[in-house]
């Protein structure tokens, strides 16, 4: 009887150790990581953007400063296309998804969303803040078949942050505010490394293990583009995307 208990105890200890080893071992070793860098450009003229009239809510006009326009196509310096989400759509083994422990933040400021496009991992927490002196409602509208649940909540001035996480991949979930109908943001929920092009159009994916991948770039107006890319250890692979203006 005694022996049996001891064996069982030892066995379970061993099992526990094995599991924890699997669980905690960094699947992407620091030495084995690569990087993907590149820029996104717009070929042609960005569509005409009309300034947004926020007179409806004086609290917006006070916070906003100068006139701003919709951000569905934003071209930065040297024709760089801003707010393009670049992520690995094929080739991941499934082990790379090192979910970021830092919550991503989206802030309502001057009656627009900052950032306009937010990318984050499945299961990563997202914090919604309201810096304005007026109430907003946050209304993400994921695809009904995509598995993410739709919600619609308001956040009054001075209310605490809203914290959520998304359960399924989806590029990208539109977010709107019904109180200020011009407000629009997109949330790209992906697995694995991702990047969002900055105001010169350049992006960077960190912690990519060596291998061959299909890389997808998504832009809210122009849709998606894909490219194959091979990443070697220790050296950044470079890929550029060009979207054609309609």
């Amino acid at each position: 009887m005694k022996t049996r208990v001891r064996v069982a105890l030892f066995g379970s200890l061993l099992l526990a150790f094995a599991f924890s080893a699997v669980h905690f071992a960094p699947t992407v070793g620091a030495s084995a990581t690569g990087q993907i860098v590149g820029t996104v450009k717009l070929d042609g003229q960005a569509p005409h953007q009309k300034p947004i009239d926020m007179s409806k809510d004086p609290a917006c006009a006070q916070a906003g400063g100068g006139p701003i326009s919709a951000e569905n196509v934003v071209v930065g310096a040297n024709g760089g296309l801003v707010n393009v989400v670049v992520y690995i759509s094929q080739g991941l083994t499934g082990n790379e998804a090192s979910t970021s422990s830092q919550p991503a933040t989206i802030t309502q400021k001057g009656c627009k969303y900052v950032p306009h496009v937010l990318a984050l991992n499945v299961g990563q927490h997202m914090t919604v803040m309201n810096d304005d002196k007026t109430a907003h409602n946050i209304h993400p509208q994921p695809n009904v078949t995509g598995g993410n649940s739709q919600w619609n909540k308001s956040q009054t001035a001075g209310a605490g942050p809203i914290d959520v996480a998304w359960t399924n991949e989806e590029v990208a979930i539109p977010v709107k505010c019904n109180i200020h109908p011009w407000m629009r943001a997109y949330i790209a929920v992906v697995k694995g490394p991702f990047g969002v092009s900055n105001d010169t159009g350049s992006f960077k994916l960190d912690n990519v293990p060596p291998g061959t991948y299909t890389l997808t770039a998504w832009q809210e107006t122009y849709g998606t583009q894909t490219q194959k890319v091979t990443v070697a250890a220790g050296k950044p692979a470079s890929t550029d995307f060009t979207f054609k203006a309609k």
Binding site: S55, D57, N137, S154, I179
Partner: protein
């Protein structure tokens, strides 16, 4: 004793109410429309008629409670019984009702039964959760057709205009503020893209619901320049309290400049 206290309380309440109404502690803002004075007149008339009935009713109630408490005196009936009361109600209320309805009908008719001036400035109003947008026909004088499936608020296509293919829609001017020329007849067409809303401008004495699926015309002429609040008075959802827009009544030249500036920003 209790009856006397009751009488005093009722009298005090009546006087306080009457004071607030007569002193206009809370009152309508100054009217800025051509039809408004009729409505104001009708309201004042009603305040007079209804106010007198209110005071009379409460005071008689108070007086009887004051006088007839206790068990001391012999029971009396009012002379004539119910008949004079019924006749009084029919004659007094009947006359007042008839007077109010016939005069009121004219005030109502001045707003709703008259045809709009054919030379009116035509403006389309679209209400949606939770904002108003306004549309001017542009130089061609024609409104482009509406395509609800094309509505994209993030892209500022609030009306669902097909500016790529529809030449009528190309020069339509869409704004978030309603500007109108002063002393000119205005014809608004109200339509809602989602739920019921309302168009209420206190100074204009205009309140009209938007009904999804219907185009509802209203017409008026503003007589004073200034900036006024348009608010929603039909429960439309969480942002109801914050559904508003501004009405700018401008001189003709200011209005023309404003419209030109808006057109340049489309």
């Amino acid at each position: 004793m209790v009856g006397k206290i009751f009488a005093i309380v009722v009298v005090l309440i009546t006087l306080a109410t009457a004071y607030c109404v007569i002193a206009h502690v809370w009152w309508m803002p100054v009217d800025i429309s051509v039809h408004g004075p009729r409505i104001d007149h009708q309201l004042e008339e009603t305040v007079l008629v209804a106010g007198l009935l209110f005071i009379a009713g409460q005071l008689v109630l108070a007086a009887f409670a004051f006088l007839y408490g206790g068990t001391g005196h012999k029971i009396k009936q009012i002379p004539g019984g119910a008949k004079p009361l019924i006749i009084f109600a029919f004659v007094l209320v009947g006359t007042e009702v008839l007077a109010l309805s016939s005069i009121g009908a004219r005030a109502w008719g001045a707003v709703y039964f008259e045809q709009p001036d054919p030379a009116s400035t035509r403006i389309d109003v679209q209400a949606g959760q939770f904002a108003y947008y306004f549309r001017y026909p542009g130089p061609d004088g024609k409104f482009g057709a509406l395509h609800p499936d094309l509505i994209n608020e993030g892209n500022q296509n609030y009306f669902g205009l097909d500016t790529d293919h529809d030449s009528d829609a190309k020069d339509d001017i869409v704004t978030a503020e309603l500007a109108i020329p002063v002393n000119k007849p205005i014809l608004l067409t109200l339509h809602s893209k989602d739920v019921g809303h309302s168009f209420y401008v206190r100074e204009l004495r205009v309140q009209q619901d938007f009904v999804p699926g219907l185009n509802i015309p209203i017409h008026f002429t503003a007589t004073q320049t200034g900036r006024f609040e348009i608010v929603c008075t039909q429960l439309c959802g969480l942002g109801h309290y914050n559904m508003k827009a501004y009405l700018s009544v401008l001189s003709q030249s200011d209005f023309d400049d404003w419209l030109k500036k808006q057109a340049s920003m489309q």
